[in-house]
Assembly symmetry: C2
Homo-oligomer: 161 residues x 2
């Protein structure tokens, strides 16, 4: 009987999740990074705007779970490359209104099928029921992780902001 409850790394779900997510992320970014010189945050912004045009930077950040600084930098790079265009909201002059440019939309249209193809290849090992189970598990775990995180932060840093 070990004095410490034993931790087996490759039975440990957080670790396994991290390894899997990293594998998948780097494979996906391989599908556009070099080819179109597009960083991961830049791609995320493009993906968000391709799905729902007209969002502000803050909307994009919320939508993609990115940091607002990361969004700001990605937006700056995409503007420089003329892959998106930015206007100002009339109602709230702080808010930007972001859209894909023609170039950006073309890029989006080229990359989307590739990443979907990757996803299909990945999920190809799963049967219909397994996919449904995966969907459900991701949903449940993400919700629970979201509930757990602020609480842990509060517990460990009760004085935080």
């Amino acid at each position: 009987m070990p004095p410490t409850p034993s931790l087996q790394l490759d039975r440990f779900v957080p670790y396994r999740l991290s390894v899997l997510a990293n594998l998948v992320s780097s494979a996906i970014s391989g599908a556009y990074a070099e080819r179109y010189s597009l960083s991961i945050p830049e791609w995320r912004v493009i993906a968000a705007l391709g799905e729902q045009p007209g969002m502000s930077a803050a909307d994009v950040a919320a939508r993609t779970a990115m940091d607002k600084v990361a969004v700001s930098r990605a937006v700056a790079a995409l503007l420089r490359a003329r892959r998106i265009v930015r206007t100002q909201s009339r109602r709230d002059r702080r808010r930007s209104v972001l859209r894909l440019s023609r170039t950006g939309a073309a890029l989006y249209a080229r990359v989307v099928p590739q990443v979907l193809e990757y996803e299909a290849a990945l999920l190809g090992v799963l049967g219909r029921d397994e996919r449904r189970a995966l969907d459900r598990l991701l949903e449940k775990l993400t919700r629970r992780a979201g509930e757990l995180t602020p609480c842990i932060i509060a517990r460990l840093a009760p004085n935080a902001r």
Copy 2:
């Protein structure tokens, strides 16, 4: 019929995996980072050595899916803090032999229950069958992602090293 097969970010498994893994990782690191001033790579090295003492840096890298540079730096920091000790392999004088120091082992013993507790809380939303399903899915997807990654790399960068 859209000209582009549509990408819905929150139906897209790679994206969902990444969000979940980030949530979980930051929650976990919250359990030791501040408290023991231990970075994520440092904790990974500790965890690997706690589970299997005597590994070399390369072994640790393989075991934890970390970059060898990251391991090297984490090892340097842990040596400075006297949380691990390093000797040299007699048979191969390039290889290091790493072990937790008494301090490191104590740290390990204190952190392990916390991270296990977090894992238990996370998995608490799942029933027995769901946990089994999760285990199986993680295994299948990780294996598949591993198979897919080199192939994609090869396809996109046929001239790579």
